[in-house]
Symmetry: C2
Subunit: 129 residues, 2 copies
DNA sequence: CAGCATCCATTTAGATACTG
DNA sequence: CAGTATCTAAATGGATGCTG
């Protein structure tokens, strides 16, 4: 079933959101967009919910970039008012697996990553007096 | 055996170089640096060879970022002249596997990615007249 | 609703010159 | 050798207002 996307899907501290591995289709939202599309087509406004802090411009840019790379297909749905749907192409879908691997790694090592960063920063501050 | 790093290790058209998946430790070189370190410690100047178009500043920034994330350890080797070695920490080493998965995906779908991009661009030009 | 245009602030990257 | 300092250019991101 395609549930509506939860607004807290990418909470600030969730590893998949602050994931140090970025899938570089041009911008910082692309990887998150792909995850949002994994359960089927979504509309533009639907995608804005879980991303929270993305602007229309940012989301548009992300989607265009993914479209250009052949990972996402954009479809204008006939009917009353504007309605556009985005969905993963087979190519885009094939990216879900490596992405899951990367996210699993990030989750597994999240604490280590944070700790390393903190102790490094603390040591730097030390040296700076 | 630790061979010297080949200058053509990341040739312009090699998928692992133009990899659309970027491991986001701050900059565009980080993922490539990690691959360069996979066979053991390397010196600063040694790392510049396979990266080719990186500047000293860019490489320094990358290495600092990786150090901060706890993926790379920097060691000043005592002796005549300056000598600094960089090597992967266990955490950094644990990243090689997900990275290999991502690179394999990129290689497998490289042609599709290029083709999608080209046909998309061609269609855009078409519309633009 | 789904954007594009415009303006502006911030971040990031490269070139170049210089240092312990 | 292994950087740092400085400047500049380019990319990125957000805010706001407008359009079919």
């Amino acid at each position: 079933m395609r549930q509506p996307l939860p607004a807290d899907m990418f909470d600030e501290l969730c590893p998949s959101s602050l994931n140090p591995i970025r899938f570089g289709f041009g911008d910082k939202w692309a990887a998150l967009v792909i995850r949002c599309l994994q359960d089927g087509p979504r509309r533009f406004s639907e995608l804005r919910v879980p991303l929270g802090r993305v602007t229309a411009k940012g989301l548009t840019r992300s989607l265009r970039s993914l479209e250009r790379g052949g990972l996402v297909r954009r479809t204008v749905v006939a009917g009353a008012g504007s309605r556009v749907e985005y969905e993963l192409t087979p190519l885009g879908r094939s990216m879900l697996a490596p992405m899951a691997v990367a996210c699993a790694w990030a989750e597994d090592h999240w604490d280590e990553l944070l700790e390393a960063r903190e102790s490094h920063d603390a040591a730097s501050l030390d040296r700076a007096g």
